[in-house]
Symmetry: C2
């Protein structure tokens, strides 16, 4: 074990005496006020930090970092987070089975017994060196699920869909193709001071499911290196307007060229959106990627 | 239009001045105390009867008959019901569009605007002659969804799954094969006075989904001409005990040969069960089938 060197506070690097864990997390966003901790509100980060602190009997609240800060009502199947824990501060129980258990297994087992049903930790693992859930990620994949039939959607799926007028998927996919690549997504973002809105959109397409439980559902997949605030729901709103014939494709082309967000871009409801997956590079490139991303996005 | 002949009250046949409608219905059972109307409780039948009466401005509450009386918490994707409505009693609105609309379209349109999100009428149609949602049905297909992994299930699906120990599907399917066919299902039924428990089990098998949103989920399909009370959940409970190794296959064989229900058959939780589909014969055999079923099951 490394000696407990002092590291400057707020250093992005992991303190030497701490163990960084990677958690893969899913949640039904319906009853969360989003990912980010907020006083007095039930959030995924808040619940998870509270429970990790409690089940490991940590002396202070652990801080989680996530790959995608989802808004209130947005779901996650593939959220990734990291947390730094001092293994010496973890109180192990008297039971001999716990004594032999490594920290990830211990945490996974205890969280499984503690967490509410709408928040699931699918796995806990030692993070590889250089791993940062947010800055090491190379892409995030979201799916927005739309229901455009004239009857109501399957009530068993209603929390994960948003309804809209009948869609022409050819129109949506033609319009989508023009948005792929590196560009300033300011017209689709709620601007935050000092944050860039330049992103690389890697994938944007709509597919109608034709079999299984989701038969009839339109899935709009949006994959990018990173997202700015409300970007997926704004892109979806604009594409729904084109696909339903409410707007011409030329409207979207003109819109995408504007320097700032336009009020006429509808933001779709949160309940249709799910963070499905986060991509990371191979372990040897994690630290390099994190340095790059930090430099680009924190400037 | 036929003359309004008097028909005896409670006659199973449709009164001549009434129009029989077939409704295809889905619901998320989580917040219903089952299908059947019960005073003071929120039930699918209660909500639907109330809303049909209200949106058609009927002078008295319509009575619905369903194909499968689901228990509290059980879901339906393919429930079928019929209702007899006096078309002369339906108050049409002043809007000229309504005047030209046939009764099924009118009812479907008005229900779509009125019903809560967990109860959906997928279609309304004129019932063919001789159609009875309950007695014309030739089979009902239920699916029980099981989650047997060591981590918690996808929180987006949790309301439609039940968790259980790891399952050996080969064991389940071998045991299932022995139950197919015509037999007395009394060992798996909560007996009701005067009701037969002899049923024909047409299909019973377990499949593990390997792709898509339900990946990892075990789907136990149970299809029979009809079901007695708690039959699907008891069959599932017995098969889970065999599939998890808690019981030997011989236990199930002995159990199935008993004359009455055994206390050792576990009844699985309602939330894992969904009524998926109801089968009917071709239109020319609807009345004949209804007579047959009525004779068998009401004796």
């Amino acid at each position: 074990m490394a000696s407990p060197e002092r590291v400057p506070q707020n250093a992005p690097e992991q303190a030497h005496h701490l163990t960084r864990l990677r958690l893969d997390v899913s949640y039904d966003g319906t009853e969360f006020a989003g990912w980010a901790r907020q006083p007095g509100l039930r959030t995924a980060q808040g619940e998870l930090e509270d429970w990790i602190g409690r089940v490991l009997h940590l002396p202070s609240l652990p801080r989680l970092t996530c790959a995608g800060r989802t808004d209130a009502g947005v779901h996650a199947r593939g959220q990734v987070v990291h947390v730094d824990v001092d293994p010496l501060a973890v109180r192990r129980s008297q039971r001999s089975t716990d004594e032999d258990t490594d920290l990830p297994t211990l945490l996974a087992r205890r969280l499984a017994r503690a967490l509410p049903a709408d928040l699931v930790v699918r796995s806990v693992a030692m993070a590889p060196p250089g791993f940062d859930a947010r800055f090491s990620a190379i892409w995030r994949r979201y799916v927005y699920r739309l229901w455009d039939a004239d009857h109501a959607p399957d009530p068993l799926l209603r929390r994960h869909l948003a309804t809209c007028p009948p869609l022409d998927l050819t129109k949506i996919n033609e319009a989508s193709a023009g948005l792929i690549g590196l560009r300033d997504f300011a017209p689709f973002c709620k601007r935050r001071a000092g944050a860039t809105t330049i992103r690389t959109l890697l994938e944007l397409n709509a597919v109608r499911r034709t079999a299984g439980d989701l038969s009839g559902v339109v899935e709009l997949t949006v994959r990018a290196d990173a997202f700015c605030h409300s970007m997926v729901r704004s892109l979806t709103g604009a594409l729904v307007d084109v696909g339903s014939g409410r707007r011409e494709p030329a409207w979207l082309t003109a819109l995408a060229a504007r320097p700032v967000r336009a009020g006429e871009v509808p933001v779709m409801p949160a309940g249709g959106l799910t963070l499905e997956e986060v991509g990371y590079p191979t372990d040897d490139r994690l630290a390099e990627r994190a340095d790059q991303a930090r430099a680009t996005r924190e400037l």
